[in-house]
């Protein structure tokens, strides 16, 4: 177990402790609450709200569309082409993020993108992709495959015998969904939704490549705090921002694990 603890210690515990401790230190390493109280400033509160909004919307869209796609895959032939293709594609696309994803979208639907110039002409140069709405679209690109990956086992856990039992007892499809499938699937669905939320909330590289004006979400505010050559000495405010993000994600993941405990009862 020691190599595992060493790995987790170096890459998870120590950075988290650095962030948590430094959020309460000022430039001269004396304890202070100034960094954390800066989080209450309206412009930072707005960025946290934007972050939560973007993450929530992309998580909901990704969850709904991903669940539908997973349902199509789960009810198909277990060895068929659809299932193998979608499963392997989801495995790859769930991790397709960052600069490469941002470039793919900029090159196709960005201000000078291929589709944009083809449909709207070279003079139009619309910039909606570089705003929060564009960010939601780009995030759903990896949220949907992630949802398929996470939700497919839950759908596979629904045994066909339950459907047969419902029909034998005289129930309709609506009865099956309302009384059997939805109650069983609610907990894994919500758990996956929370996972998608945490995934989008902490995404940095994609947003950094797309949005260079205004730092509208929390990870980009952290970038400004650390690499701005205009506002100097705000590294500890950046760490306080990171602490805020850690708290939000910790709440979300706690809810997720509570839901997982509930859902695993049914899938044994």
């Amino acid at each position: 177990m020691l190599p595992f603890f060493a790995y987790v210690g170096i890459f998870l515990i120590i950075p988290t402790l650095v962030v948590v401790i430094a959020a309460f230190l000022d430039g001269a390493n004396r304890p202070t609450l100034a960094n954390v109280s800066e989080l209450a400033e309206p412009y930072i509160a707005k960025t946290f709200w934007n972050s939560i909004w973007v993450s929530a919307v992309s998580a909901v869209i990704g969850a709904v569309l991903g669940a539908l796609l997973a349902y199509v895959v789960a009810t198909g032939d277990p060895d068929g082409l659809v299932r193998t293709t979608v499963s392997s594609a989801s495995g790859v696309l769930a991790q397709f993020g960052g600069v490469t994803l941002a470039f793919a979208f900029i090159a196709s639907v960005g201000p000078a993108g291929l589709l944009t110039t083809w449909i709207l002409g070279a003079e139009a140069a619309p910039t909606w992709l570089l705003s929060l709405k564009g960010l939601v679209l780009v995030y759903t690109y990896f949220q949907i495959p992630l949802m398929v990956l996470v939700f497919l086992p839950a759908l596979d856990g629904i045994r066909p015998q339950w459907r047969e039992a419902t029909e034998t007892l005289g129930g309709t499809a609506w009865d099956y969904w309302r009384h059997v499938a939805v109650p069983i699937l609610t907990a894994p669905f919500l758990g996956a939704l929370l996972l998608l939320f945490a995934n989008a909330f902490s995404a940095y590289a994609t947003a950094a490549a797309l949005i260079t004006q205004g730092a509208p979400i929390a990870p980009l505010q952290i970038r400004t705090a650390f690499s701005s050559e205009v506002l100097l000495g705000r590294e500890n405010i950046g760490k306080a921002l990171a602490l805020g993000m850690v708290i939000v994600v910790a709440i979300v993941m706690t809810l997720n694990s509570m839901l997982q405990k509930r859902s695993s009862r049914w899938l044994r």
Partner: protein
Amino acid sequence: MTTTRRALLSSIAVGAALLISACSPPSNESSTSNSSAAAGGGAGSSDPKTATSAKDLGGMDALVAAAKKEGQLNVIALPPDWANYGEIIKAFGAKYGIKVNSAQPDGTSQDEVNAVKSLKGTDRAPDVLDIGMAVALANTALFAPYQSEKWADITDAQKESTGLWVQDYGGYMSVGYDSAKVPAPTSVADLLKPAYKGRVALNGDPTQANAALHGVLMASVASGGSLDDISKGVDFFKQLKAAGNFNPVQASSATVKNGTTPVVFDWDYLQLGHVKDVPSWKVLLPANAVIGGYYAQAINKDAPHPAAARLWQEFLYSDEGQTLWLKGGARPVRMEAMTKAGTIDKAASAMLPAVSGTPQFPTQAQLAKAKGMLATDWAKAIG
């Protein structure tokens, strides 16, 4: 969890916490290292690491020999199309046979300082820095004092007294535009017209980058504000955004070339670089709103190649280096001295855009006030 495992985990956590507090940077390292470096200046050590002028090493030839022996130079955040740095790096490498490793060309000044701190002790650490004045003044503890041969040509206001940082080149904030795509603006206020819809961009975010900060300052002065009050500039960009004219894309050579950003607020020397890609690119220096800014050179105190770093400074401040900057459209810091001595390249200096009105240089206090306002209000204005 067994008792031993719990004890192990808690001791790891406590140990980590102690390690972190021990590793936190000490608070006041600037005063001690500064004074010792200043006291040692001119003492004639022959170690390139502590040499404060070429004389210390026994003359330029000794410096060149020491630099050639090191064989390499690490530079950072020098885009090849920024004030002709591409040619400067090539010329330096060709003249002295020293390999120049150029890292992170799109970095900011703060990224340079971060690299100095995090790469300390390795041989990839940056040897020399070209940074904005704010970052230079805040990080003098990281620099080594050095006075190049042309030290006397630079006015006292443009250098630190022992040579920790020396201003190198500067320019004026301008509005560049593609005359083939948009009508020629005669003032900053013209940019609010519908002909510029979705076309006006900044070189970065003013809360992040120096160039964008001065762009907003220039818009402020041109809209009736002053260097002490950047709010008119923020209002101007708010109006620009409301009219749909503001383009949030980061302006760069690539976006200028493909036509995404036909109007750009940027330093005049960077605008001249765009003329190569877009022959119809023109530059407007708004009348009575000429805001100037100079950048500064510094040498990393713990440079892995100290002699090469000092030779780089000598090269940059020599007539050859200053002329290369002039060719890139920047105003080299020795421009006045060179014009008096007649060594200035007349053709290159004629290419600089015409200035109408007295240039104003914001002080650090004015910049600090502007930054404070931007930190809270910029995101709201263009969000």
